[in-house]
Amino acid sequence: MKRILTFSLLFFCAIVKGQIPEDAIRYSWYPQNATARILAVGGAMGSLGGDISATFVNPAGLAFYHVSEALFSLGYLENNNKSIYRDSSSTSSNGSLPLGPMGFIFCEKNNKKSASNYAFSLAFNQKAAFGSFTRYSALNNYSSFSEQFAEEYSGSGLSINEALNSNTPYPYTSAPALYTYLIDTTRVNNNLFVMGAPENILNAGQALRQDYSKRTHGGLYELALGFGGTQDSKILYGATLAIPLIAYSSSTIFKETDTSSNAFNKFKSAQFQDDFKTTGSGLDLKAGVIYRPSEFIRVGLAIHTPSILFLKDTRTTYCSTVLESDSGTIESFDVSSTTFTNGIAGESKYRQSTPLKAILSASYVFREVEDVTKQRAFLTADIEYVANGGNRFHSDNEAPTVEEENYYKSLNKVIKDLYRSTINFRFGGEIKYHTVMGRLGFAYYGSPYEDKTFRANKMLLSGGIGYRDKGFFIDLTYVHNISKDANFPYRLSDRANTFATTRDNRNTFAVTFGVKIP
């Protein structure tokens, strides 16, 4: 009961908590996934209706259904990534099989002449596909990955013994770095400092070879129950109760190597691997209305409440360091974070609230007639507002510490300052000749960052064909997605940061297959 009350309060207050700022936009900045038919018209469908995708965009569109149907969508996604890091270019690629919308539409009655109409949908969809592989490599003469741990530990006030304790607040970062001597204390003029071993190379005016690779898997899924209805076929309304399901995993490996031939400069190489997995579920509500001021014209408005997600992160890091002594002796150290978390991977529970979303849409449908031989075409467009800065995180551990609560408060402040609201556009059209259809579409998703340096955006070009006859339909679509973003391998607060610019070229092939149920 207590959990339900908390859940309800969160639902309306939109309180959120998170882990690191980059986690915030994972569940809010992604292109819309839909059936192959809707993907082909840029994903625009806020006012179109008559497609199961309406369940996830504007449930009022379900009221256009007069005949029940069942359908299934599947895709193949090929991701080609190009990264530029410190003037060096790298490429990587991977493939995945994202799911599309699938489920059933139940019509209240198959009465095509009635002005009033009701329809329900039971649908499942993979809203976002997180499968990707990013890799880059370059020389760096300015900063080291180890400096983030030196920063963290120097400000902790903990002794080395305290930092290595099984209750350490830094089991994934500073503790492994200290254990393997990637960072250590050093004394200058009788004052103590914390220093990363690779800094010896940089302070000597030489460069480090840095290699970064990150593999991600999983997706944001949604199980939804939608309803759409109308009394007079002029104003259509609808609502969807959805359960978002999160399954995300990430494995990041960062390696630094001494590029000099000096065998006495105290550092040879280091590798840090960070594996974490996020799982959880939540709840959200979508409501919408479509207005038909005259025949052929449809205007839609949909509001998506913040998704309240109850998430759990499971994390393990590995650190290995190879050092050179003053005499040239090679020493190797390695450790897993489980050494500091009682032998098992650490688990952190938290709540996240995704931002509010609003979609304004309009469509023009040539020939809104029942006779399919007279149906000709449609044009549709969406304008979508997403308040990315509205992402919030909060601890969901049973007994969160004061430090943990303070961290989440600060995190929410950073998210508010770091991210901005975006206006996204989607539009497209279809031409129909009896049983065959052809489609084209375009979509643009703006940068979620306040800092204009990053120039991030997503641009999608799409096209497809469809066939509908003898009680079934099949749609095939190709989408080319160009996504630009910034990737920080690490962040420092006392030095200028360095980041990679990434350009993902995603080729998606989607197919939807369905049957009409008389």
Partner: protein
């Protein structure tokens, strides 16, 4: 429980990512099963549309001005409603039950022989062992934290190569993305021995532990660093 099962399945990554050289058998079986079900549905449904057009609900909508047919709600007699209610729930049946002897009552057959034939009766107490305790290793619940100050990094400290003094430069969007960068160059944050006086003026990653045990080779803790040569 069901949600957890779904999440566990999704989390396996078997349905969203795969290695191209080794397609996942479990995933392929699931897809095959779904496709088989759809094929069956297709065969059973499409026969109804052989002689008529396949409707397209994206296009078709009832005209606004004409052709609208008002559908009156279906009316039922009181007796019909009562029969419907009786057929759905035993409460309504029991209100007018002619079977006074439960032995002949078709709705209570076998329920009075020590519940022997009652399919809902179980003679042993059913309990859940919620209070059973088992020892478990405490799980570290530290969040995935980062230095949030680094997201506001608009200043950077460098050492003046001529004077050796540490200086802080503040400007917006302080990024160093090139090894040829002349705008921001790396400085040793300790400063040199002549310029650094041990005060806070130079900043840097100075370290003040909470107790004096800050040697490089920790001892007395449950976890100690390996020793070095």
């Amino acid at each position: 429980m069901t949600l957890n099962m779904i999440i566990s399945y999704l989390d396996s990554g078997k349905n969203s990512n795969f290695i191209l050289q080794s397609p996942n058998d479990h995933f392929m079986k699931s897809i095959s099963l779904i496709l088989l079900m759809f094929s069956f549905a297709l065969l059973s449904c499409n026969s109804a549309f052989k002689s008529m057009q396949t409707p397209d609900d994206v296009y078709y909508s009832v005209p606004l001005q004409e052709g609208i047919v008002k559908v009156e709600p279906e009316t039922r007699s009181h007796e019909e409603n009562y029969i419907r209610m009786q057929s759905r729930h035993s409460t309504w049946r029991n209100m007018n039950n002619d079977y006074t002897d439960a032995y002949y009552d078709p709705y209570h057959y076998g329920y009075n022989y020590s519940y022997y034939y009652n399919p809902y009766y179980y003679s042993f107490p059913i309990f859940c062992c919620n209070t059973c305790l088992s020892y478990s290793i405490p799980i570290n619940s530290t969040p995935r934290m980062t230095n949030l100050g680094s997201y506001y990094n608009t200043s950077t400290k460098v050492v003046n190569s001529k004077t050796g003094q540490i200086q802080t430069f503040t400007f917006k969007n302080a990024y160093n993305n090139s090894n040829q960068s002349s705008k921001i160059t790396r400085g040793n944050l300790f400063g040199n021995s002549s310029s650094y006086s041990g005060s806070n003026e130079g900043g840097g990653r100075s370290y003040s532990p909470s107790n004096s045990n800050s040697s490089s080779s920790g001892s007395g803790s449950s976890i100690s660093r390996p020793s070095r040569y």
